[in-house]
Amino acid sequence: MWLIKELWSFMRVRKKYWLLPIIVVMVMLGALLVLTKTAIGPFIYTIF
């Protein structure tokens, strides 16, 4: 809940409401990935 509030206030400050649907889809997809397999740390630091 805290995270959702923080993300919402972040989008408000950055005026990037259009990120909302993307975040929702990505979070759902990401959650699916978390549930289905172990995350491996990526090796290039740009995506960290």
């Binding site: 990120l19 993307i22 990401g30 397999k37 995350a39 290039i44 630091y45 740009t46 995506i47």
Partner: protein
């Protein structure tokens, strides 16, 4: 007012403590955890900083984190969106890590702080600075300048990869930025990857390899990979890179352009890798020089401050210095992400808390900055050193100060490899005479001995000289302070020896082993040297040692390399120093006033240190 700066959870975690505007302590977590580039929460570094200042955790007024995770997440999402569906492999790897850990950084920081301070008011006391703002603050606020242009260049922070700021008094204004994916740091890292070294740690190896090669790919890079403008701004041609969407830095098109697959780690180095290193180094210098020229023109500033990983490219820094576009240049010694801890604390102090700035720190000497020579880490009192060494089973002799200096200088003059552990540990990637391995630069075999028998590292890598500040111009073509080993300059002509055609044709260590100056151990194949000027005000023991060596030999220069073996973090405690001493072929170890000879030690304490650490 006490502000704790933290850089963590990406790479090179560190903590720094600012008390009433003075930097009193700073350290990287890797030194305590003994894990190179440790990215974990810097618990031990924080603990050290607070204890060193004689404070309790409840005395901390603010905690400042060095970047903004949500902005990074925004960059990540927008990048995936821009390249979709190509980045799915990368997305599949990255998103779970973000969801499980990285988005929850604020919670992690809050929970960690609450462990120490249960009633920590994290809503009001936990501050976040932007990555490049932290770098810029780390470059300007501790610098000795009242007014300066501040240039920061690295791989990537949130969005910015290069930024220009103007600093004046306690104000620091960001002026302009170049954003991801266009990044000089990532371009250099792409070649680091392609030449078979580790991204984010092997870049300085590429820089060391460059003088062996010819920059024959420079025009290819400028024609195909980088659109470089006159003012130094640039855009990368992303058709050749994989880092936005994949798990590698470069792609097949890049391979085709440079005629082959990337070199595999530890594979034999060929002339091709050397030429690639020379080419990317030449391009980097070109970009940095154009940027600094345009910065000078646009701002009218006479002083320049540098930070960010690219500012560790001391060859480029030396070229900027020699161009004399600016009167003075100051580079943050911890220019990489560890230094973000210092910058975050300073930005909070002057920016958020609106506190005034006192230039030159507490030393009140105009030429001295506020980094105290970067000797900001732990130190050990003489009785403590003796107790620790005794517990470790060391056999040593405790000498008076003058005797210790004299014995060490004699050991150096006898061409012994000396482990030197004195005073506070350095903050930043360089050993500066606090935790160093020293040698005689006049010895033609010292380079080989140190590389292969002491450090167990690649044979092509050069060593750096420490030289008394007042003697620097007698030996090197530079007359400026370089206390942090972040400027490269050539050995002066009269100290050089010209190589014959046969000698020129040699390769790698063979080429390096041909004496090319009066101080061959610190003269690279292009006659350059990565100079550290030694100042009495910041490191009196090291200054006295080099002075004693000069009195014996006429040479005010010693070889200075970090006190560790390949892959190991620099030693922190007397015990670490003793372990490294017993695991390598260091012949003499000097810890405080204790002198240890290898032949006097218990042979059963010898360790096989060669494979003890993961290669960097």
């Amino acid at each position: 007012m006490r502000i704790l700066g933290i850089s963590a959870l990406y790479h090179d975690s560190a903590a720094a403590l600012l008390v009433d505007g003075k930097l009193v302590a700073a350290a990287q977590e890797e030194r305590f955890s003994r894990k190179k580039h440790d990215a974990g929460f810097p618990q031990q570094a924080i603990d050290f900083c607070v204890r060193h200042a004689g404070l309790a955790f409840k005395d901390i007024d603010y905690v400042a984190f060095y970047d903004k995770p949500f902005l990074k997440f925004e960059r990540l999402l927008e990048t995936y969106l821009a390249f979709a569906p190509r980045g799915f492999t990368s997305f599949r790897m990255a998103i779970p890590v973000w969801l499980k850990e990285k988005l929850l950084q604020k919670t992690l920081l809050r929970d960690e702080m609450k462990r120490w301070i249960p009633d920590f008011d994290w809503h009001n006391k936990l501050l976040f600075g932007e990555h490049h703002q932290s770098h810029a603050a780390s470059a300007f606020f501790p610098s000795p300048f009242e007014r300066a242009a501040v240039l920061t260049m690295d791989g990537v922070g949130e969005w910015a990869t290069t930024s220009l700021a103007m600093g004046e008094g306690s104000e620091l204004q960001m002026v302009r930025e170049i954003h991801f994916p266009h990044s000089l740091g990532l371009l250099y890292s792409a070649f680091t990857y392609y030449t078979g070294f580790k991204v984010n740690s092997g870049e300085y190896k590429v820089m060391g390899l460059a003088p062996y090669g010819e920059p024959r790919f420079k025009s290819t890079i400028l024609d195909k990979l980088v659109d470089l403008k006159d003012d130094g701004s640039f855009r990368l041609n992303l058709e050749y890179f994989d880092y936005c969407t994949g798990l590698r830095m470069t792609n097949e098109k890049f391979d085709a352009l440079f005629g082959g697959k990337p070199r595999k780690a530890e594979e034999r180095l060929t002339q091709r890798e050397m030429d690639l290193a020379a080419s990317i180094q030449a391009v980097t210098e070109e970009v940095v020089l154009r940027l600094t020229r345009s910065v000078a023109q646009q701002t009218g500033a006479r002083n320049l401050c540098l930070a960010g990983g690219v500012a560790l490219n001391c060859v480029a820094n030396g070229k900027v210095l020699r161009e004399k576009v600016f009167d003075n240049i100051w580079v943050q010694p911890a220019a990489g992400d560890a230094g973000g801890a210092v910058g975050a604390a300073y930005a909070a102090y002057h920016g958020f808390c609106r506190q005034p700035r006192r230039v030159n720190g507490h030393l009140n000497a105009p030429q001295i900055d506020s980094m105290d020579g970067s000797y900001l880490g732990p130190e050990y009192a003489q009785p403590d050193i003796e107790a620790r060494l005794q517990t470790a089973g060391a056999r040593f002799e405790t000498l008076p100060y003058d005797g210790m200096i004299e014995t060490t200088a004699q050991a150096l003059a006898d061409e012994k490899a000396v482990g030197w552990f004195q005073g506070r540990m350095e903050f930043g990637p360089r050993a500066l005479g606090g935790r160093s391995i020293l040698g005689d630069p006049r010895s033609p075999s010292m380079q080989k001995t140190l590389n292969l028998k002491v450090k167990y590292r690649e044979s092509f890598r050069p060593f750096a000289p420490s030289v008394l500040r007042e003697d620097v111009s007698d030996w090197f073509d530079i007359d400026a302070d370089s206390p942090y080993m972040l400027m490269v300059a050539p050995v002066v002509e009269r100290r050089r020896r010209t190589m014959t055609a046969d000698e020129q044709a040699l390769f790698g260590i063979d080429k390096l082993n041909v004496p090319r100056s009066d101080i061959p151990a610190v003269t690279h194949v292009d006659y350059s040297a990565r100079i550290q000027t030694v100042h009495r005000q910041t490191n009196p023991a090291y200054y006295d040692l080099i002075s004693a060596f000069k009195a014996k030999t006429g040479c005010p220069v010693v070889v200075n390399t970090s006190f560790n073996v390949r892959g190991e973090p620099i030693v922190c405690t007397p015990e670490d120093a003793f372990r490294c001493f017993m695991g390598s072929e260091i012949e003499v170890l000097v810890v405080g006033n204790c002198v240890l000879l290898k032949e006097a030690q218990n042979p059963s304490l010898k360790r096989d240190y060669k494979g003890a650490f993961e290669l960097d």
